[in-house]
């Protein structure tokens, strides 16, 4: 399988005044297409920083990040926006849906920024909502949906552009146990259909669903292991 993500010697240093804080202190990771990877670590370990770098929301202070063969380390904000739009689908802990828009309008947003014509956008948005089991909720606003349903809308939005990478930051952090189960099942299905997923979590039982666990601590990857439960290849 071909390499999707390659991080080499990635460091990230935050400066605030004279204080310097090194959040990532030299990370080397390779993730292949079709992998389901969970990044685990306590808060403050640097996993959110890693998520931001993987999602092209931020640039490393040092080191190289190659996504799908393209070095992103020296791109400007507009080019990074284009990469986020086409290659990465985000699922956030707080769902981040726009409350004034219906489900399908939320889902079509990335397609709008990609410049697709409206009829095609609507069609693809509804198809994506169908895939996450919300085909009958396309015209509901986020406020009219449960937490689990809202997060599924967010997953539909992440998938609608057919991105190379699905990046989920604590996707179950705001869900009850039943919705968490549903969400993890959805991820299992997506993985089974060949999608690359990187999931960031601090919950060990969520992590065990993934085929590979990366444990990060104090800015370094301390453990890189293949799990048995989640391994399905």
């Amino acid at each position: 399988m071909s390499t999707l993500i390659e991080l080499t010697g990635v460091r990230k240093t935050y400066r605030s005044g004279s204080l310097e804080f090194e959040a990532l202190r030299g990370i080397d990771i390779r993730i292949d297409e079709g992998e389901y990877v969970a990044v685990i670590g306590p808060s403050g370990s640097g996993k959110s920083t890693l998520m931001n770098l993987l999602g092209c929301l931020d640039l490393p202070t040092e080191g190289r990040y190659v996504l799908e063969g393209e070095d992103t380390s020296s791109l400007d904000e507009a080019a990074l926006a284009a990469i986020r739009n086409r290659r990465i689908g985000f699922v956030f802990q707080q769902f981040h849906l726009l409350p004034s828009m219906t489900a399908w309008r939320n889902v079509e947003l990335p397609l709008a920024y990609a410049g697709l014509p409206r009829p095609e956008r609507r069609e693809r948005a509804i198809a994506a909502l169908d895939k996450v089991g919300l085909g009958d909720r396309v015209d509901h606003r986020p406020g009219e949906l449960s937490g689990g349903q809202q997060q599924r809308v967010a997953v539909a939005r992440a998938l609608v552009t057919e991105p190379a990478l699905l990046l989920a930051d604590e996707p179950t952090g705001n869900l009850d146990s039943r919705s968490t189960g549903d969400m993890l099942e959805l991820f299992d299905e997506l993985h089974a259909s060949g999608r690359t997923i990187v999931l960031i979590t601090h919950e060990p039982d969520v992590a065990t669903r993934a085929g590979r666990n990366l444990v990060i601590d104090d800015g370094l990857i301390t453990i890189d292991r293949t799990t048995t439960t989640g391994a399905r290849t």
């Binding site: 929301l57 931020d58 926006a81 981040h96 947003l109 990335p110 920024y113």
Partner: protein, 408 residues
């Protein structure tokens, strides 16, 4: 995202905060409507002045004496000299010398006291020729004008203005009545129709018109100087030809060059110009106030856009995470600000137009809504929105997606 969609999402954002948006555009509404009303008032007043002056006769040339210089070298103002004579008027009336003039009326003006029984009234006495009525485009509401025979004899007959008639005789008809002018009995033979117009402050409806010879006698003046010579051009097109002919003729007669002439000729156009200048001053003044309120309105838009950016930091972060480039975000906020401005402009124009219909009933002043001012107001409001939206939109565009997403 297409422009049309950006506009639609901007409208949606404005509608999401209806009260706040309405309060925001209020400043612009007030500014734009006052601009429209101010310009309308100015133009209405100008139109009114033009109408009144047209009613006085737009073909009119008014020849006034120049300034005098006394023995100690003090120069008086225009009209202080006594350089115009009835002979000048007669010369101008010569069709060969001034072919473009249709009528000439010299006027000897002085202030006199009129008495009817125990009522007295001070007015201006105008001594002139029979041409006066035509030259000044006046009409009679009762009686007749004095005849050329009466003019030659210097008969004690007078035609009086409508206001004078009312002040002296009350509601009864003055025609055939006698009044005393500086102690001499004069018969009123006619009353002028009210013109409603005024030039240089004195009403055209308060005067007594008598033959020139009679005027000299009544006021005890000797010599034959006149205060003004009114010349009516044959048509509006021939006004400037008549102007030059009169100027050349008088210069020759007085032995001066046109550069140091001892007389001046003004046209109704120059009166219009003077009146318009006054109006323009007011328009500029009021327009300045309106412009300040527009500025305040624009700052209001900027303020609310900044609040809106702060409030929607998370939305901006999300949109950026989903692939919105900084320029797209900038455009979204600029369009939103422009729409706020334009909405204010449209409402302001509507208020201004309604105001222009209502205001004349309240202040007895015509308001002319000009299409140019309306379009300019709309363009200004749009520009205000964009101008004051640049900074907030730039702030939104510069937000980094992680900071924006992280904020609560």
């Amino acid at each position: 995202m297409s422009w049309w969609e950006t506009v639609r999402s901007g409208l949606a954002a404005i509608e999401a905060h209806r009260l706040r948006s309405s309060l925001t555009v209020l400043g612009i509404v007030i500014g734009i409507s006052s601009v429209i009303l101010t310009v309308g008032l100015g133009q209405g007043a100008q139109q009114e002045v033009r109408d009144r002056i047209d009613a006085l006769g737009s073909n009119l040339l008014i020849v006034s004496p120049g300034s005098s210089t006394d023995s100690s070298g003090v120069r008086g103002g225009f009209g202080s000299a006594s350089t115009l004579t009835r002979a000048d008027a007669t010369a101008i009336a010569d069709r060969d010398a001034v072919p473009d003039a249709a009528g000439v009326a010299p006027a000897i003006t002085s202030s006199v006291s009129l008495v009817n029984g125990d009522t007295n009234w001070t007015t201006s006495l105008v001594g002139t020729t029979t041409d006066w009525l035509d030259v000044r485009s006046r009409e009679l509401s009762a009686g007749r004008f004095f005849t050329s025979a009466e003019a030659v004899q210097g008969a004690t007959v007078a035609v009086i203005g409508a206001d004078t008639a009312f002040e002296l005789f009350g509601p009864q008809s003055p025609v055939g009545q006698q009044m005393s002018v500086n102690g001499t009995r004069v018969t009123v033979v006619g009353v002028l129709t009210a013109s409603g117009a005024s030039s240089s402050g004195s009403t055209e409806d308060d005067l007594a018109v008598v033959p020139a010879g009679t005027a000299s006698r009544l006021t005890g003046s000797t010599g034959d100087t006149v205060s003004t010579i009114y010349v009516e051009a044959a048509s509006a097109e021939r006004l400037s030809a008549a102007y030059q002919e009169v100027q050349a003729l008088l210069a020759t007669r007085h032995g001066v060059t046109t550069a140091d002439a001892d007389f001046s000729i003004s046209t109704q156009d120059s009166l219009v110009e003077t009146a318009n200048e006054t109006n323009r001053t007011f328009t500029v003044l009021l327009g300045g106030v309106a412009a300040i309120s527009l500025l305040v309105g624009g700052i209001g838009v900027m303020n609310i856009m900044l609040v809106s950016v702060t409030e929607r930091v998370r939305e901006i972060g999300l949109r950026k995470a989903l692939g919105a480039a900084p320029n797209v975000i900038r455009r979204q906020f600029l369009v939103e600000a422009a729409l706020l401005g334009l909405t204010g402009g449209l409402v302001g124009v509507a208020v201004g137009i309604v105001g222009a219909q209502v205001l004349p009933h309240l202040i007895d002043q015509a308001v002319a809504v000009s299409a140019l001012a309306t379009v300019a107001a709309l363009v200004t409001s749009l520009a205000l929105g964009v101008g004051f939206g640049v900074y907030p939109a730039g702030r939104a565009a510069r937000l980094t997606p992680i900071d924006a997403l992280r904020s609560e």
